[in-house]
Amino acid sequence: MIGCFGRRYDMLDNIHFVLLVSRQGKVRLTKWYSPYAQKERSKVIRELSGVILNRGPKLCNFVEWRGYKVVYKRYASLYFCMCIDQEDNELEVLEIIHHYVEILDRYFGSVCELDLIFNFHKAYYILDELLIAGELQESSKKTVARIISAQDQLVEVAKEEASSISNIIAQATK
């Protein structure tokens, strides 16, 4: 049987992009897994935030847009959006969004929008431990947290080394 079920395998079924937008329409994070030119990106963001921010509260979390589907969920003042193909499992993507939010929450300790503004790079690092090529790489929140903290550790060590070296240099050149 090759019906329309067979069709999905001809296309790349992945998350095309991830978008975090505040209720005011400010972009807080964008991650593009499919190629979009810079101009295209701003257009997409403008278009989508217009659609999503205007949707009422009790409606479903899916928007059909340019032949794709955008799964979005609002957490406090932030909308988390992921764009997928028509044939993908929207419910699973909702779970992925929630998964990400939980990891952020654990990392920042009840995360708020300000955390994501001032530590936007951390939000990206966490996302990179969760998704690669628009595909989920880890279903354990604990594992993600462990890898992130190990890497943060590496950065701390490097910083300390750097400052101790500069101390040594400073002392030596006194």
Partner: protein, 868 residues
């Protein structure tokens, strides 16, 4: 140190940007920061490179250009420390995409980092590669990724697996290299590796059928076991989502099983039990469980048929559909759409619920449901469904009306059991959402209306009523205006009443009223107004009593700024005022429009050629139909007072004129033309020099058989009529007394011999040519029609058609009756835009009555002298 870069830290910049009250302020801050970052880049300042890039990423996110920072990413990636690399790779992924040339420069750094001793650095490189890798990079770095699939740390293996997916998507040929390492990942226990490994195998199966076979044979059982273990495993907090063990892994396993089971009975058999278990045991009160069920249903529907499982799956969808959660209903609709090809009966059972979803307040659900309903409509249920949808059209939101109206029209058109029902439904849609209806839809409606003569009266009256309630619906107004113009008489005298109709009393001036309203309504655009003008003109002929009023309404547009309206107004006024005698003929009802042609044109495919079987007389390709327009006008020009209406001979009038009537060529035994050619291309026929006209004098037969030789007949004509220069004038003498000035050869202009254009046993037509030297393209022709019989011809009418490069103007004939052995004349003017290149050709038809009996004679004239 640089005076600019000394200051702000990342958080200071963010604060400054956030503190900006206006966009201009924000731009100023960003501009200042960018200047500082550029300066720092120019100084090659190592200490701040890290911070600068972080700032740039933030600025980039706000939508400002940051291309100047791209090289900084590369420098950071090339530096030895982990913190620099980490931010460098992040910048690379954020500021660049795979299409940028700069990316090629990073391949080498990536290769080094993929071989780095620090596993976190390897992880960074894999992540970057997986997110932005291009086809070239995929080829260069595939071996590294392949090796990393066996790396000791599982976190690297899972990243490598996703990288491999990206590589395969970019270069499918590389999938071979990943079959074995991919299969090895399926035996892993680590969930991350298992999830990515399963995904990798799915991806490989999609691009390579050999790999699919391999996995089907080797891995199906193992995967079924893995899924069973996961489904039955005890609570584990690490992977638990709302009481369900790792839904993500569940879903990916189900997806791979779907690929393996599709089209393979054995593999499908193997997974039946576990699918049944997942479908029946999974908790459906939380999203995670529903996500699994959704995936499971898809798999059941895709793999080889198993009756019991299908029922289970359809039941799950039924439950989904009645769920209160909008998300669940949405996916149910989505899934039912796909299930339609598998089991449409089962989907039909949910029709009522789906119909309810069309009326949901959620646009996403509405859209899905409408598309599903559209697919569910068939001949049996079209009436109730269309009724429901049209009722909903009345209350639906503006945004949705367009989609809904389009779908209803399409359904109604496709499945209408009878014309009256179709017309009724269309009128309802037009009254509710006429503004949203596309042009081709209401064109189609008009075509159907013209093809249903018994409904003309009914339709025009229904439209008249509708117009009073919905005069702002553009396309309703257009259809109504058109129909009232055509069938005004039926509107007023209530003719063709159907039993179901309520009689209405419409006076002639009421009919004019509605058109007047349409023309003056503020929502009417140029097209509507133009249509209304035509309708008025037509009414003026149907109801002579309203003529004066119509004239004044039409006259109001004489000053219109729109050329189209102004011109119509001027011309129509003059038709009403000065051409009373031809008006009724000119404004005859439109011939029936052909449905087949219209639908063909709508589908974008024109009939390639006119079918020689001549079954559907009106299927003329576009171009020819246009060519016909000009002769039609000419022909109408000449019809004087009481000539028989040209349209009375029916809709094949034009064809006949154009020679589509294919019996004609085959009826000429002399003809060397192949009938099919003559039938297939009218223009070709018209232009094919040397094709004998059917009634050409028999003496030229020999010459005519040599098709190319068009000199012969003309040469023979020369000898007949124009060797003596006095011939034309002498002929004119014979014809004298009919009041037209005989053409005189002027000194400078070349003289052209007159010809016998047509001769039969009863009629002879001669053409005499004159040309004015200042206008060489134009030829004045005087046609002499001589009655060779002892009978009187009445209602005599000469019609002619010419190909596109010619323009023909016919003056009225000197009389429309030919006494026995008498003659009449008619002048015409032909303008040849290809003068000197192409000779004049003409197709003609003569109609007259002998003792009230119609006689038709026709032929093709291609013995015009050269150079005309």
């Amino acid at each position: 140190m640089n005076p600019f870069s000394s200051g702000t830290r990342l958080s200071d910049m963010i604060r400054a940007i956030r503190a900006s009250k206006t966009a201009a302020e924000e731009r100023a801050v960003v501009r200042k920061e960018c200047a500082a970052i550029r300066a720092s880049i120019n100084e090659n300042d190592q200490d701040y490179r890290h911070r600068d890039l972080a700032k740039l990423m933030f600025i980039h996110m706000l939508g400002y250009p940051t291309h100047f920072g791209q090289m900084e990413c590369l420098k950071l990636i090339a530096s030895p420390g982990f913190p620099e690399k980490r931010i460098g790779y992040l910048g690379l992924m954020l500021l660049l995409d795979e299409r940028q040339e700069v990316l090629m420069l990073v391949t080498n750094s990536l290769k080094q980092d993929l071989n780095h001793t620090n596993q976190y650095i390897v992880g960074l490189a894999l992540c970057a590669l997986g997110n932005i890798c291009s086809a070239e990079m995929a080829r260069d770095l595939a071996p590294e990724v392949e090796r990393l699939l066996q790396f000791r740390d599982p976190n690297i293996r899972k990243k490598a697996a996703l990288c491999a997916i990206r590589i395969i998507r970019k270069v499918p040929d590389l999938s071979e290299n990943f079959i074995n390492p991919g299969a090895a990942l399926l035996k892993e226990k680590h969930h991350g590796v298992l999830i990515t490994g399963v995904h990798l195998c799915t991806e490989i199966c999609n691009v390579s059928s050999e790999a699919l076979e391999y996995f089907r044979k080797k891995c199906t059982e193992g995967l079924v076991k893995t899924l069973r273990d996961i489904a039955n495993s005890p609570y584990s907090p690490e992977y638990d989502v709302a009481g369900i063990m790792d839904p993500f892994l569940h879903i990916r396993l189900l997806r791979l099983l779907r690929v393996l089971g599709q089209g393979d009975a054995d593999a499908s058999d193997c997974m039946n039990d576990i699918l049944a278990q997942v479908a029946s045991k999974t908790e459906s009160n939380k999203n995670a469980g529903n996500a699994i069920l959704y995936e499971c249903v898809q798999t059941i529907m895709s793999i080889e048929e198993n009756g019991g499982l299908r029922v289970l799956a359809i039941n799950i969808l039924g439950k989904f559909l009645s769920n209160r959660d909008n998300n669940i209903r949405y996916v149910a609709l989505n899934m039912l759409m796909r299930a339609l090809t598998v089991d449409s009966q089962a989907v039909q059972r949910h029709r009522a619920t789906i119909l309810e979803c069309v009326k949901d307040s959620d646009a996403s659900i509405q859209k899905r449901a409408l598309e599903l309903i559209y697919l569910l409509v068939n001949e049996n249920n079209v009436k109730p469904l269309a009724k429901e949808l049209i009722e909903y059209l009345e209350v639906s939101e503006q945004d949705f009306k367009g989609d809904l109206a389009a779908k209803i029209c399409s359904i109604v058109e496709k499945f209408a059991p009878e014309k009256i029902w179709y017309i009724d439904q269309m009128l309802k849609v037009l009254s509710e959402a006429g503004t949203y209806v596309k042009e081709d839809v209401w064109h189609a409606l008009i075509v159907v209306i013209t093809n249903a003569p018994h409904l003309h009266g009914y339709t025009v009256r229904a439209l008249y009523r509708a117009l009073h309630t919905s005069c702002e619906q553009e396309s309703l107004v257009r259809v109504a205006v058109w129909c009232i113009g055509e069938y005004a008489d039926l509107l007023v005298n209530n003719s063709g009443m159907l039993d179901l109709e309520d009689p209405i009393t419409v006076t002639e001036s009421d009919a004019v009223d509605v058109i007047e309203t349409a023309i003056k309504h503020h929502t009417s655009d140029v097209t509507t107004k133009a249509m209304a003008l035509i309708a008025l003109l037509k009414i003026s002929s149907r109801f002579p009593s309203c003529s004066e009023r119509v004239k004044s309404i039409i006259g109001q547009n004489k000053g219109s700024f729109v050329l189209e309206l102004q011109q119509r107004s001027m011309e129509f006024s003059s038709v009403i005022q000065k051409h009373q005698n031809i008006r009724s003929t000119l404004l005859e009802r439109m011939p029936v429009l052909d449905e087949a042609t219209f639908s063909g044109r709508r589908a974008g495919s024109l009939p390639a050629s006119v079918s020689t079987s001549g079954k559907s007389p009106l299927s003329i390709p576009n171009g020819v139909a246009k060519a016909a327009a000009a002769p039609l006008v000419d022909l109408l020009d000449l019809s004087s007072d009481d000539t028989p209406a040209p349209t009375s001979s029916g809709d094949n009038f034009l064809q006949d004129l154009l020679g589509v009537d294919i019996t004609q060529p085959s009826a000429q035994p002399v003809s060397g033309m192949q009938p099919s050619q003559a039938g297939a291309d009218i223009l070709l026929d018209l232009l094919s020099i040397g094709t004998p006209s059917p009634v050409q004098n028999g003496s030229t037969n020999g010459d005519l058989l040599s098709m190319q030789d068009n000199n012969a007949p003309i040469a023979s004509m020369d000898t007949i009529s124009s060797t003596s220069p006095t011939a034309p004038s002498s002929m004119m003498d014979l014809l004298d007394g009919f009041g037209s000035t005989p053409p005189k050869n002027e000194d400078k202009s070349p003289a052209y011999p007159s010809i016998v254009a047509f001769e039969s046993s009863s009629l002879k037509i001669e053409f005499i040519f004159t040309k004015k030297p200042e206008n060489p393209q134009t030829t004045d022709i005087v046609g002499n029609f001589t009655n060779l019989s002892p009978n009187v011809y009445t209602d005599f009418l000469f019609q002619a058609a010419v190909p596109k490069f010619l323009q023909l103007h016919l003056d009225p004939a000197s009389s429309n009756s030919l006494p026995a052995n008498g003659s009449i004349k008619q002048t015409m003017r032909v303008t040849n835009s290809q003068q000197g290149k192409k000779p004049i050709v003409m197709r003609m038809r003569v109609g007259y009555k002998i003792n009230g009996k119609d006689v038709l004679e026709e032929g093709q004239i291609n013995n015009f002298p050269r150079g005309l």
